[in-house]
């Protein structure tokens, strides 16, 4: 023991903590995937002002954006089983990771819907009209003309969202799952050397955030080059 900070422990902890990266990655992938699908749905509901669903979507988005994710985690963890119990589904035996995935998916859907909405409205009306004029249906116009352009417009913001999601996974451990943060904490409380674990986390989070940002910048350049 002795010293408060032991650099050798950083190296020792690193593989232990990084071995939990797949769990973090799983949360991010599920959150982004669910966020895209559900977010597109919410965005369309809001843009077409679908009765009732629209009001519900507005409420939902402002709730998610207005509360910390840690609050949402616990609301889902304690509230979701109660809700599903009403319709006869018992999920009390669910592993904690599922609650985490549901929370991050729902959370991302709200943020993503706002991104998608503004990306879609950034595509000029003339594009939609031209699509209709050559005989595309509403859905075909969306899929073939509007969304591809919206996606390109939204790409930088989308990249930021992925990085934010990755960083926000650091709160998933509060439900007691053993992701990278959970692992660092467990090691810390076992060895009384907490700082080293968090230094490892800091290094991993900085590195991965930077890699993600570079990837997005690179991908965006590729997309845009293709067009010019």
């Amino acid at each position: 023991m002795g010293s408060l900070f032991d650099i050798r422990l950083v190296f020792e902890y690193f593989p232990l903590i990084f071995s939990r990266f797949p769990i973090t990655l799983l949360i991010v992938v599920v959150a982004i995937g669910a966020g895209l699908v559900l977010g597109l749905f919410i965005a369309l509901v809001r843009m077409r002002k679908v009765l009732l669903l629209n009001q519900f979507a507005i409420l939902y988005v402002s709730f998610v954006r207005g509360t910390p994710i840690i609050v949402q985690l616990f609301i889902i963890y304690y509230g979701f089983p109660l809700l599903l119990e009403q319709v006869g589904i018992d999920i009390t035996q669910w592993e904690k990771i599922y609650f985490v995935l549901v929370t991050y998916g729902l959370n991302n859907a709200a943020f993503m819907s706002e991104i998608i909405r503004s990306a879609i409205s950034s595509v000029p009306d003339g594009q939609r009209e031209a699509a209709y004029s050559v005989g595309l249906s509403r859905w075909q116009a969306l899929r073939r003309v509007i969304l591809p352009q919206a996606f390109l417009n939204a790409f930088p913001v989308f990249g930021t969202r992925v990085v934010n999601t990755f960083e926000s996974t650091s709160l998933a451990f509060t439900l007691g799952i053993l992701d990278m943060v959970g692992q660092a904490q467990a090691i810390g409380s076992r060895t009384y050397h907490e700082l080293e674990g968090y230094v490892v986390l800091a290094i991993i989070f900085i590195a991965i955030s930077m890699i993600l940002e570079k990837l997005f910048v690179h991908a965006e350049k590729r997309f845009i080059q293709q067009r010019r």
């Binding site: 003339g126 009209e129 699509a131 005989g135 595309l136 249906s137 067009r227």
Partner: protein
Amino acid sequence: MIELKNVHKAFGKNTVLKGINLKVNKGEVVVILGPSGSGKTTLLRCINFLESADDGELIIGDTKVDFKNATSKEILAVRRRTAMVFQNYNLFNNMNAIENVMEGLVTGRKMPIGRAREIAKQALDKVGLKDKYEAYPLQLSGGQQQRVGIARAIALNPDVILFDEPTSALDPELVGEVLSVMQAVAKEGITMIVVTHEMSFAMDIAQHIIFMADGNIVEEGSPKDIFTNPKEKRTKQFLERILPRWNYSI
């Protein structure tokens, strides 16, 4: 043949079309003239339901549609019998020239890609863009973009092509290339309804001229009738303004 009966359209309290009746024969080129705000664009956009008219009837080929309660199926059917060339070209920015032309065929009409590509090539060759198949809209001049727009329309082999001021966003030196493509299209016997301020096109190419003002058709007739012998005061005033050296005795 395409026919409009008693078309009405208002934006809020602003009544823009006040009962338009119009008949266009197969193969005919009709030019619509009229001062700004008279409802020319709105009329064209009502024909392919980019604007929904409040009342009236549209007959196109053997399809008859009531504007007031058109279903989305009917609207799609009408759109698949028409095509439009826009003032600002409106090419799909995420597609290159040939993909722009193929899109309506492949996605809209479910045509096999190989055949659609052949048709698209022919259409692009026809508008003089043989060497621009792969170019994206941003890589093309305005005149070239508009020619892709025309190729996109003719590839669909529609019952009618609607042109809304196809040359008015172009630099003057590019107007000619687009007009001559339109002239070639007209010669092929494709039905065209053209809103334009290009009087030479109206005089030389149109078979029929419609003069609109304030949401009404004020006068219509052959180019000769309209340009040399207009009956209505509003028509005369308009022509005097737009053709400064125009006089009654041409």
